[in-house]
């Protein structure tokens, strides 16, 4: 039996094509994935991301408090979070330096941080956090927020349409800088509004008590926000050069070989889970962007890539609606350079692709040239 979000019946009534996404019955599109993609790049679209899991960590300052615990548990440095509401993207690493999950952590108060983790990894993440807590800070409480649902509203007009759909939101959230969050009281209970997303566009992610998420969804539809499925979410995040856990990185690779070196703080004296392993093993591979040069198909995950420096493999590939060409992320030998031409095995042929530095497209526009 697939798990359902509280919006399941609304998706079905809207004619969504549903798929099994990591055990969840989720909309892949509501008709045309490409139209939904363009709606987000050019106007405003929204995704049901209620399958993702909020996890609250609370407790007093003993043993370093919540901040001290997260400082050890996460690869990025929560000491960057100075003002309440500020968010940080981080990997959660195993002691061997491979990736358990990627997540966003929000600093709300010194005794209260909120994490948002991926759906398919939530249970193992929570088990891992509980084990670490028992060892290092048993007085902290960890609360999975299964009582909350979440909608991501994304696109250049997303925020303006949220102000229209949700009375009172503008005064609370219009001053939010990217990667910050605020809470607001509402008739539906406390709402959590974050200026974050997974599309390369401006927008908000709103957490709301699950029984009321349908009312918020319908208000957003009425304000002109177009429902978009996981299909468009995948092409948007790939154009934006954002990794997908389980595809672009997992428990077999290090973040340094996954294009995530910028999120790993190896400079400060702070110790964290996985740090020693990362320092002991310099990366020999990289996660690079590819743009297909030849016609002849679409780049897809697991296609082999031949380069002058050795072989690699595509980890995520798709057709980019913004570039009107196929794009991919690929794990390649570390000394392959931007601008190099590589050969990708697509079915029975080898097609030329050019190595580029992601992102491919953000803020409504292409970021890479299709011409060498």
């Amino acid at each position: 039996m697939l798990k359902q979000t509280p919006l399941n019946a609304i998706h079905r009534a809207a004619g969504a094509r549903m798929v099994d996404f990591g055990g969840w019955d989720m909309p892949v599109n509501y008709g045309s994935q490409i139209d939904e993609h363009h709606a987000v790049r050019n106007d405003a679209g929204m995704f049901d991301v209620s399958h993702m899991r909020g996890v609250d960590l609370r407790g007093d300052a003993r043993s370093g408090g919540v901040r001290g615990f997260l400082s050890y548990a996460l690869a990025n440095n929560v000491d960057k979070l100075k003002n309440p509401g500020k968010a940080l993207y981080s990997c959660l690493l195993k002691p061997d330096g491979t990736v358990i999950d990627d997540l966003i952590v929000y600093f709300l108060r010194e005794d209260y941080f909120r994490l948002v983790v991926n759906a398919g990894t939530a249970d193992k993440d929570i088990a891992w956090f509980r084990q670490l807590l028992a060892e290092r800070a048993p007085h902290l409480t960890l609360t999975p927020r299964t009582d909350l649902a979440m909608i991501a509203i994304q696109g250049p007009n997303a925020r303006t349409k949220v102000w229209r759909a949700l009375p009172g939101s503008e005064s609370v959230a219009s001053g939010l800088k990217p990667f910050t969050a605020a809470t607001m009281a509402s008739a539906w209970g406390e709402l959590f509004l974050a200026r974050t997303g997974y599309t390369g566009e401006d927008g908000l992610e709103i957490m709301i008590p699950a029984p009321h998420v349908g009312e918020l969804w319908q208000a957003l539809v009425a304000a002109g926000v177009r429902p978009a499925g996981l299909g468009a979410r995948d092409t948007l995040r790939l154009e934006a050069g954002m990794n997908l856990y389980g595809q672009d990185m997992d428990e077999t690779v290090s973040p340094l070989e996954s294009g995530l070196g910028w999120t790993v703080d190896l400079a400060s004296p702070r110790d964290f889970v996985g740090k020693a392993a990362l320092l002991a093993r310099p990366p020999t591979r990289q996660l690079a962007g590819l743009v297909l040069v030849d016609r002849g198909g679409v780049l897809r995950a697991h296609q082999p890539v031949h380069t002058g420096k050795g072989d690699g493999e595509i980890t995520s590939g798709t057709f980019s609606p913004t570039l009107n060409q196929s794009i991919a992320l690929a794990r390649l030998p570390a000394d392959v350079a931007v601008g190099d031409t590589v050969r990708v095995v697509v079915r029975d042929r080898e097609l030329a692709a050019r190595v580029v530095k992601p992102p491919f497209a953000r803020n409504g526009k292409a970021c890479v040239s299709l011409m060498p």
């Binding site: 045309s32 490409i34 798709t318």
Partner: protein, 127 residues
């Protein structure tokens, strides 16, 4: 789901129309284009290629996945539709106007053995 009664079908989701000159036009069904999603790439067989029945002879790729197209009956490719390679989205918009290729069948009686609309509908359930 749109399944015109005047066409023949395969269980691999091709539709087949017999033209006035006896050749067979082949495309993919409404069910197939819905399942694939937005098409972005089509590859067609070479004119003159001799096909066995059920031989993979064309490829469609959507944003989601690649899928083979199969010859519904044995025969020779006598024409291909550049319109679908130039604008794959036309297949989503009008799957039964978007023929992929035409075959001169080796056995003109073979087409009668393909599925009719009712039988094809049964193979795809209530989708």
């Amino acid at each position: 789901m749109n399944i015109p009664a005047n066409l023949k079908y395969t269980s691999s989701h091709e539709w087949v129309r017999t033209e006035a000159d006896g050749t067979l036009s082949v495309g993919i069904t409404d069910h197939a284009q819905t399942a694939l999603g937005d098409l972005v790439y089509v590859e067609l067989p070479a004119i003159g290629r001799k096909l066995a029945a059920a031989e993979a002879c064309a490829v469609v790729e959507s944003v989601k996945a690649a899928s083979d197209i199969y010859a519904p009956v044995a025969g020779e490719v006598v024409a291909v539709n550049a319109g679908v390679t130039d604008a794959p989205e036309q297949v989503n918009k009008d799957p039964y106007a978007s023929w992929f290729f035409r075959i001169k069948p080796a056995d003109p009686a073979a087409v009668a053995k393909l599925l009719d609309a009712k039988a094809y509908e049964a193979t795809i359930g209530d989708a």
